[in-house]
Amino acid sequence: MNAFLQMSMTEFRMALRNFIYMFFAFVFPPMMLLLFGGMYGNEPTAFYGGHGAVDVLTPAYIGMILAVSGIMGLPLQISEYRQHKILKRFKATPIHTGSIMLPHFIVNCLLSMIGTAILIVVGIGVFHLHFLGNVFPFLFAYFLSMACIFSIGFLIAAVAPNIRAASAIAYIIYFPMLFLSGATMPLQMLPKVMLTISKFIPLTYCVEILQGTWMGDPLSSFLKPILVTASIAVVCTGVSIKIFRWE
């Protein structure tokens, strides 16, 4: 079989065996939705701008799933491969270097899409989740957010000298990002200081465009967050490629 395909399938199988990853990508977000949906229901309220809590939380949790795949999954896999000289071993074969790196991106992309699908199915099944936007703007926001988050993960993989450093950086970035970006708690709950901090967290902008396009706002009203996320994606990817070491 084609090396690229075989590599992607093997990586996919291995990721499914990673319990922590699977928990945070597939179980934790629907669990949060059940918890907060159970508390607030999905009836329109003034607090959520006339929308149901579940309708607002779901796109934010989608951002959370992207962060799990991009910030925890991707860099930890790559740094394990580098530290254990697996990247080097793959390099000593006739395959293209793209066939070594790209499967990591594809597999994490696929896993975050599966996680998103599970979340949406739970939302619809339990809370009559509504999608109020248009498919294409939302998909645009989704893949732009993915590019932004994954490029940060790639940068972590490029910068971290070993697995311990990579997981430390990933956790340090992941958890504050979760609570301060609006991915778990609505931003309007935050005091002013924390709100200012949240402006420096990339996931905040991802959540903003995911939520906005989910609710049906046109892309044109999110020019600033689109610009920010796209710039992060381009800069982080460029820097990562520049400084990436195979061993």
Binding site: M1, N2, Q6, M7, R17, N18, I86, R89, A92, P94
Partner: protein, 301 residues
């Protein structure tokens, strides 16, 4: 098969390999031995196309190792301290590597040959150290390589696993493959290698077959026995003996010559000299290394 001329490897300002030259012949086991930091792995990685040389020329079967995709169709490598993903099974790893090559060897045949046929569904990380090293050789052989590179293959293995590995390496040579290996075990090099290259401080200190190196180093054989009331002076007349030491009725005779032991026995029998506990020790690679460097390799590792 492999030609190296004036190879130099640098890490920033540190010279890891300093202008070495050697050639590896088809169908031989060629060993690079030396202490850690001597430049063994750097040399190896240049030939494997994993490291750029700072100078000199390298040709592997006529291919420049930097032409990696062409090179890797005909060589197989096992890297020092390299491992495989934690969550991968033996079968998955073998299938994955098979997908990398145009004409891969049948991994099932290889696993059976290495005694791992029943391990197809095991996770690689659950295998013993010896089995994991065998897997790394199986993976190297999936390429159907003419040349196999083995870097510190038996480091960290228990004695039995090491002996098993030696037989496997020999069998690879016997089926016509060329083996280039590094080791810091002298006995391993003596047992396995058709020719060895001793590397010390980034340079080649000696190169040749083990008997050649021993002869070049002009090392003496040692013949030991115990005898009562022996006249030390009379022993000096034995042909080939150059030096004698005596301690508490124990005698050590040093000398050279293909028939030294026979000459000693014949001489003492003819002269009615009574002796016990006769033994003869021939100098080995360890002694060559000691003579060339002034220290023992085993102590340096």
């Amino acid at each position: 098969m492999i030609d190296v001329t004036n190879l130099t490897v640098k890490y920033k300002n540190l010279v890891a390999v300093d202008g070495i030259s050697f050639a590896v012949n088809k169908g031989e086991i060629f060993g690079i031995i030396g202490p850690n930091g001597a430049g063994k792995t750097s040399t190896m990685e240049c030939l494997e196309g994993l490291k750029k040389s700072a100078g000199g020329e390298v040709s592997v079967m006529g291919i420049d190792p930097m032409d990696r995709r062409k090179l890797y169709e005909s060589i197989g490598v096992q890297l020092q301290e390299a491992s495989f993903p934690d969550a991968i099974k033996v079968k998955e790893l073998c299938r994955l590597f098979s997908s990398f090559y145009k004409n891969p060897a049948d991994y099932r045949v290889l696993l059976a040959r290495f005694g791992l046929a029943d391990r197809e569904n095991s996770f690689v990380k659950k295998l013993s150290g010896g089995q994991r090293q065998k897997i790394s050789v199986v993976v190297a052989l999936i390429a159907n390589p003419q040349i196999v590179f083995l870097d510190e293959l038996t480091t960290g293995l228990d004695p039995q696993a090491r002996l098993d590995m030696w037989e496997l390496v020999k069998s690879l040579r016997d089926e016509g493959r060329t083996i280039l290996m590094t080791t810091h075990f002298m006995e391993e090099a003596e047992y396995l290698c058709d020719r060895v290259c001793l590397m010390v401080n980034s340079r080649i200190a000696a190169i040749g077959t083990v008997p050649e190196l021993v002869a070049q180093a002009e090392l003496s054989q040692k013949i030991s026995f115990t005898a009562k009331n022996m006249d030390k002076g009379a022993l000096a007349a034995i042909p080939g003996i150059t030096h004698i030491t005596e301690k508490n009725d124990g005698f050590d005779l040093y000398g050279n010559g293909r028939n030294l032991l026979r000459d000693v026995v014949v001489f003492m029998t003819e002269h009615n000299m009574d002796f016990e506990d006769l033994s003869c020790s021939k100098p080995g690679l360890e002694d060559v290394f000691l003579k060339l460097t002034g220290y023992r390799l085993e102590a340096a590792v």
